[in-house]
Amino acid sequence: MSEPILQVNHLSKTFGKHEVLKDIDFSVNTGDVISIIGASGSGKSTLLRCINLLETPTSGEVIYHGTNIDKLKGGASAYRSHVGMVFQSFNLFNNMTALKNCIIGQTKVLGKSKAEAKKAALHYLGKVGMAPYINAKPSQLSGGQKQRVAIARALAMNPEVLLFDEPTSALDPQMVGEVLEVMRNLAGEGLTMIVVTHEMAFARDVSSRIVFMADGVICEEGTPTDIFENPKNEKTKEFLSRFLSR
């Protein structure tokens, strides 16, 4: 296997005295689709936010292509332009149209020309099925539409890895379907993804690897078959029993 894109070593994060992440280790290779599952409060989102430096890890390191991300040229900003993120609350820029949302990063961060950026933006907006709505402001879109634009915005930066922080948790079942459909297609095209999710069916069917977290530690890690059909850890069994018995 080739060198991992991302490697997390002994990562810990505490908020005051509250220890949210304890000594986390894991790595991401090209083409991986990793689903991080676990109960709310188990540290899944914090882990993702530490990977994208939206939270500063208390200790430990994140290695990107062999370099510690603290020591990367261009700092956190340059690093984030390679590692995209999709948020639970969409976080589209409210002062811009859907199209502008997908253009701004390309022109102002990657330094692409306007025409080039627009072409890419239209391509990705079309890909997520949002081509008809390019002139709409975020406030004029439904949740599912906003999330699809947010995915297009992240894709337009041509990231190496895309992080999804509970992308469907704020959506109704129909919108969940439309967003998962987009994510399924992306996984099928070989995009490297880390997905924090409560959508167990998605995790089982789409992921190449599942990470189960509880109380700030990785309890179990393995293929979907390992985790869903043959869980070894007691906590994993208990967590999944609720899902599987539904």
């Binding site: 900003s77 990063g105 081509a131």
Partner: protein, 268 residues
């Protein structure tokens, strides 16, 4: 009724004889209020941005000390100019230089007036801008950071456009306050509307009719500004409707995405 008719005729006479004095004064008031509010906004924007620069314990010590000093200076500026009356500030600034130089250096009246009103407005705007920036959802910042924008770009393209939209009512407030409060600049001899009123009254001894005229001119100016600011707000909000693109958006990739003329798109 007799008294009212008398007042009206006094007003007509007064206006007939001194209208140019009133209008010149009003124009000077307008110039001062508009220019000083604009400069004040720029000062306030600068100070507000400085106050919200994040500073974490991991930053290097030089940056932290430098930023701490700059932030302290901004705080002192805001507290001093927000906490003292503008009329005293005007006297203070106008007479300070001649006092220390034994009359050798004098500030020009107009310059002193613009300076005082600008920095006074700036002090208020600094807090307005700071509040405006803090009111923008943290998600907007995280969204911008997640596509690789640094603090400066995040501010410039994402946070400040939204902040400015939100603080327009407050900018309007300041402009209207300035239209009225520039009247205190008569203490240093700046010839705005109130100074014109005082001059006319001094020459003609018709206190009340002149006051009615002055008051009316002030009210007209402030109401007109109110309306203009509302228009600006609407313009910043953009169209209420958007058009669903029914043709293939990928077929033409430059300049064709605006499907309906702007004039037809305005939905309000």
């Amino acid at each position: 009724m007799n008294k009212l008719a008398e007042l009206w005729s006094d007003i007509v006479t007064c206006w007939g004889e001194s209208s140019s004095q009133y209008l010149t004064g009003a124009l000077k008031t307008l110039e001062l209020a508009v220019v000083a509010t604009a400069i004040g906004c720029i000062i306030g924007l600068g100070c507000g941005i400085i106050q919200t620069i994040p500073c974490s314990k991991n930053d290097n010590i030089v940056k932290r000390i430098f930023l701490g000093i700059v932030k302290a200076i901004v705080r002192i500026y805001v507290e001093v100019f927000r906490g003292t009356p503008m009329i005293i500030q005007a006297i203070f600034i106008y007479y300070a230089l001649p006092y220390f130089s034994n009359g050798a250096i004098n500030l020009e009246v107009t310059f002193a007036a613009y300076l005082v009103v600008s920095i006074n407005t700036g002090a208020y705007m600094a807090e307005t801008v700071r509040g405006g920036i803090m009111s923008i959802d943290i998600g907007q910042t995280e969204g911008a950071k997640s596509i690789g924008m640094n603090h400066f770009k995040t501010m410039l393209y994402v946070i400040l456009p939204q902040t400015i939209r939100n603080i327009i009512p407050q900018i309007g407030n300041n402009l209207i306050i300035n239209v009225k409060d520039t009247s205190v600049m008569f203490v240093i001899g700046y010839a705005e509307l109130f100074a014109a009123h005082k001059a006319i009254v001094g020459a003609k001894y018709i206190y009340f009719p002149s006051a009615v005229i002055t008051l009316t001119i002030y009210l007209i100016m402030t109401v007109v500004f109110s309306l203009l600011l509302r228009l600006w707000e609407k313009k910043m909000d953009g169209p209420a409707n958007f058009d669903v693109a029914t043709t293939d958006t990928l077929a033409h990739t430059s300049g064709t995405y605006s499907f309906v003329k702007k004039s037809e798109r305005r939905g309000r």
